[in-house]
């Protein structure tokens, strides 16, 4: 049996050197006894470390030993553990890795599970150190003018060197020192020093702690007492170095009484300023005037609750364009992007419409564009919103706005894009293919020109057919442009 004694203060190098030598010498894991320096009664045994004869210069003598990257990461973590078994577990895994390269992927293996267990507990301890170190101020350093802070922390494992870079990233503009029984880390603005020498606890007071304790007890909701959940994440072993922890027993004991007191207190009359605020609000809320301009109509429509669609849509997407526009374009309803942006025809179908309209000689800015229904109707499919066609009732409710838009814009020609728009404008439901490119007249109101909705073009899977339909659509819009041209 070989006995290997290591200092074991969280440094991977010494274990790695020893393990390499053992592995090269073909020593099986059962034949090694690993010890931590402090508890090794060294003289009785053949000591591996410090024995010059056994220190073969590795670079020359060794054939290349390789391990998966993951093992090195795990080893660097697990070596920080305080339990001396870590050396043996690591060596067993290393030894087996030479034959079985995939060993680490098998989490059901006892050695691998043990290694992961060690690493996990080191990671948890490191995380708790980042959370529970509490700095106290010790007064500025005379020469540099930097503020100075110190902390005392008691980790379970040798993690100071591992966690020090976190504090370096976080507290750059101040001097600090964290002392622990397992090492010290300090930063002075130029150098991050880490040593494994045990530190000393110093008694200090810091006035800001009183504010922190005030915050800790005020942010607590006594109606939701869950002591176990707290202790699972903030175990009692950390409490002695947390300035807020001494408040906990009192907070728990008083919780029930304070909830009861809350319940027994009768609701009282509101304070005086409440009446003043309400009175002021009433003045602001003068009833809406009958809408006379497009802007007033838009403001009115933004509060529309005529049908239930407003509950799931983001906002009313009202028409856009100049009053007095000669041509009004009516689509079906806003889509996903229109709903978010609050503007009609800004999504993929809108972009397609803009492009084709431009080619056909129509200027979007001179058009009034709107939709038959002003709220987006959709259903959730997984995490996406899928367009749903509005039903007759919804179109009916929304016709109130469309009629007012028609009355205020007074276009000479209205373009119905798709079946929903045509139905909203004329009450007819013919097949679009049968009536496209023709003019339908409603009893009152202007002429209605029928074409397809651009989203129909986007949905055609076959490229050749889409091309044909695009040409057709462009021809329709060109006819509209001719109608709108001055003098026509």
């Amino acid at each position: 049996m070989r006995v290997v004694a290591l200092e074991g203060r969280g440094e991977l190098g010494e274990w790695r050197d020893a393990a390499r030598r053992l592995l090269l010498a073909g020593v099986p894991p059962e034949a090694v006894e690993w010890r931590q320096e402090a508890d090794a009664s060294a003289d009785l045994f053949d000591r591996e470390r410090g024995d010059p004869e056994k220190q073969v210069p590795l670079e020359h003598a060794s054939p290349a030993l390789t391990v998966p990257r993951l093992f090195l990461d795990l080893a660097a973590t697990a070596i920080c553990h305080a339990d001396p078994v870590r050396f043996g577990v690591l060596y067993r895994v290393l030894h087996r890795l030479q034959r079985d390269r995939d060993l680490l992927g098998n989490a059901t293996d006892g050695d691998v599970a043990a290694l992961h267990g060690l690493a996990k507990s080191v990671r948890r301890d490191s995380h708790k150190m980042t959370a529970f170190v509490r700095f106290k101020e010790v007064g500025a350093c005379e020469d540099a003018g930097r503020r100075r802070f110190v902390a005392w922390f008691e980790p379970d494992h040798y993690i100071v060197a591992r966690v020090a870079p976190f504090f370096h990233r976080r507290f750059f503009d101040m001097d600090w020192m964290i002392a622990t029984p397992r090492g010290i880390a300090a930063w002075n603005g130029k150098l991050l020093e880490v040593s494994s020498t045990p530190g000393q606890k110093t008694a200090l007071s810091d006035d800001t702690e009183e504010l922190w304790r005030t915050y800790f007890s005020s942010i607590f909701n006594p109606a939701r007492l869950k002591v176990k959940a707290m202790q699972a994440e903030m175990p009692k072993k950390y409490w002695k170095n947390l300035p807020e922890a001494s408040l906990i027993p009192g907070m728990i004991a008083g919780a029930e009484a304070s909830v009861v007191a809350m319940g027994e207190r009768m609701a009282r009359d509101p304070p005086a300023f409440h009446a003043r605020i309400e009175a002021a609000a009433k003045v602001r809320e003068e009833g809406p005037p009958v809408p006379w301009t497009l802007e007033e109509l838009r403001a009115e429509a933004s509060r529309c609750t005529r049908c239930p669609l407003h509950c799931s849509a983001t906002q009313t997407v009202f028409g856009e364009g100049p009053a007095g526009a000669p041509i009004m374009i009516v689509g079906e309803q806003p889509g996903d992007l229109e709903d978010l942006a609050g503007r009609p025809f800004v999504g993929p179908a809108g972009k397609l419409f803009d492009a084709v309209a431009h080619e056909a000689g129509l200027d979007r800015r001179s058009l009034y564009v709107t939709n038959a229904v002003k709220h987006f109707k959709y259903e959730m499919r997984g995490k996406r919103r899928l367009h749903q066609r509005p039903d007759a009732g919804e179109v009916e409710h929304c016709r109130w706005w469309l009629d007012l838009e028609l009355a205020l814009v007074k276009p000479r020609l209205v373009v119905a894009m798709g079946a929903t728009a045509l139905f909203a404008l004329t009450g007819e439901r013919p097949k679009i293919a049968d009536v496209r490119g023709t003019i339908r007249r409603s009893e009152h109101g202007p002429a209605v020109f029928v074409t397809v909705h651009p989203s129909f073009l986007l949905r055609i899977p076959d490229a050749a057919r889409r091309e044909v339909e695009m040409v057709h659509f462009k021809r329709d819009l060109a006819a509209v442009a001719a109608f709108g041209a001055p003098g026509s």
């Binding site: 992927g105 989490a107 059901t108 293996d109 995380h127 980042t130 529970f132 509490r134 700095f135 106290k136 101020e137 503020r147 802070f149 902390a151 976080r170 750059f172 101040m174 810091d206 800001t208 009183e210 504010l211 922190w212 005030t214 915050y215 800790f216 005020s218 942010i219 607590f220 909701n221 006594p222 939701r224 007492l225 869950k226 707290m230 994440e233 903030m234 907070m251 809350m262 319940g263 207190r265 609701a267 009282r268 509101p270 304070p271 409440h274 605020i277 309400e278 609000a281 407003h310 509950c311 983001t314 906002q315 709903d339 978010l340 942006a341 609050g342 959730m380 997984g382 995490k383 919103r385």
Partner: protein, 410 residues
């Protein structure tokens, strides 16, 4: 007499505690070693303390002021409430944040406010604080700002430059509920504000052609909170609203807050114990939807009253009514299917997929992967184990229900 800083801190943190969110995760990595100032963000958040209510304390969560011109029935700060009022100056908020941060008490600031004078005035004050922290004090810690309803989009955009996360609370699951309890808040405005923010975040994330770099804008995204148990909405309605919010606005989180009695409560609301178990079940359902491939309708489909089962977690109660789906063979079932097994989390499923490439798994192997064999064995077959008799048992449900507590003699 003016209240001391300590007195005001007590009032304004007490007033802030009904906001459930305290997350400091999901933002970009920053380091004071790069800026020369103070603060860093590490990607994942850190909980610096836990209060006896089991909640993590990660951020300094305070209100700028608890004066408010709104009168929302569920809120401790509503204008008709008799709570003590107080206000911080912008400088005081900055000072508290920096000093708490230096002592490693917090990850950063979560600032909210009652509405004073107007929405824009209030929002401007909050933006001023965030700017002071970032620009004047070179602070790289986490900042979460609560958007004020109806604040101008320009101010929200400025807030997004300095803040890691912005949130605006939807408050209640239905528009009708909001109309009844928060007469001044308009649901359409809240949704519009979320929509605008989503578009701006998307825009910032689109790498521009020239630089190929993303602009930094609200890197931890937006979130919201819904109060559960104040109005009559059932879980199906709550979850459908969440799904719409996730789908429409790309929210990172919807927080559920069990309605908790508040001091000086409005007469409109009953004083009840907060429905904590219901809140817990909603979070579980929310997780099933976001990480386990469940459709939102599936989760409540078999609950006649639209409420989640309080005795069993939602995945287990789904499995008990969908027994035809089981047992699954742990050695061949797909990832999607395994995610539906009660007792298997995302990590466990990953471990199974990785381990089964090397060998056929037995029940004992599952135990080594830290999986509760007792829970999963009714739903899984493994090498050497088939649960056919178990899955058909009529008392399967009772095997999972919490044991009734024996009553004491009186």
């Amino acid at each position: 007499m003016k209240k001391s800083l300590k007195e005001r801190l007590a009032i304004l943190s007490d007033a802030a505690k009904y906001d459930a969110s305290c997350a400091s995760s999901g933002t970009v990595k920053r380091s004071s070693a790069d800026t020369g100032g103070l603060g860093s963000t590490e990607g994942s958040g850190i909980c610096h303390a836990y209060a006896p209510d089991g909640r993590c304390i990660s951020l300094l969560k305070i209100l700028l002021t608890n004066f408010c011109i709104y009168d929302c029935a569920y809120c401790i700060n509503r204008s008709s409430s008799n709570v003590e009022r107080a206000r911080f100056t912008a400088e005081e908020v900055v000072w508290l944040t920096m000093e708490f941060y230096r002592r490693n008490y917090i990850e950063g600031l979560f600032l909210s406010s009652g509405i004073i004078r107007s929405s824009d005035y209030t929002m401007e004050e909050m933006v001023r604080i965030a700017r002071a922290l970032r620009v004047d004090h070179n602070f790289s810690g986490y900042i979460h700002l609560k958007s004020i309803p109806e604040a101008s989009p320009l101010l929200v955009e400025q807030a997004g430059i300095y803040a890691d996360r912005l949130s605006i609370n939807i408050e209640l699951p239905t528009d009708a509920g909001l109309a009844a309890y928060a007469p001044e808040k308009r649901p359409a405005h809240i949704r519009r504000s979320m929509g605008e923010l989503r578009l701006k975040i998307d825009e910032a994330n689109d790498a521009t052609l020239q630089t190929k770099r993303r602009k930094r804008f609200v890197p931890a995204g937006q979130s919201t909170q819904m109060i559960v148990g104040a109005d009559q909405a059932n879980d199906r309605v709550v979850l459908a609203t969440s799904a719409r919010l996730y789908g429409s606005y790309g929210l990172r989180r919807v927080y559920y807050s069990a309605f908790s009695p508040i001091p000086d409560a409005s007469r409109k609301l009953p004083l009840i114990k907060p429905p904590m178990m219901r809140e817990h079940r909603l979070y579980q359902a929310d997780w099933l939807y976001r990480f386990y491939g469940f459709d939102i309708d599936e989760i409540t489909a078999n609950q006649p009253d639209g409420m989640l089962d309080l005795k069993l977690d939602p995945k287990l109660s789904w499995a008990l009514v969908n027994r035809h789906f089981f047992p699954l063979d742990v050695n061949s079932a797909s990832r999607e299917a395994l995610l539906r097994v009660p007792g298997l989390g995302t990590k466990a499923v990953r471990a199974i997929l990785s381990a089964r490439r090397l060998r056929r798994l037995r029940l004992e192997d599952l135990a080594r992967l830290h999986i509760s064999v007792k829970k999963v064995r009714s739903f899984l077959s493994t090498e050497g184990w088939t649960p056919h008799k178990l899955i058909d048992r009529s008392d399967l449900r009772s095997m999972f229900e919490p044991k009734p507590e024996q009553l004491d003699l009186f």
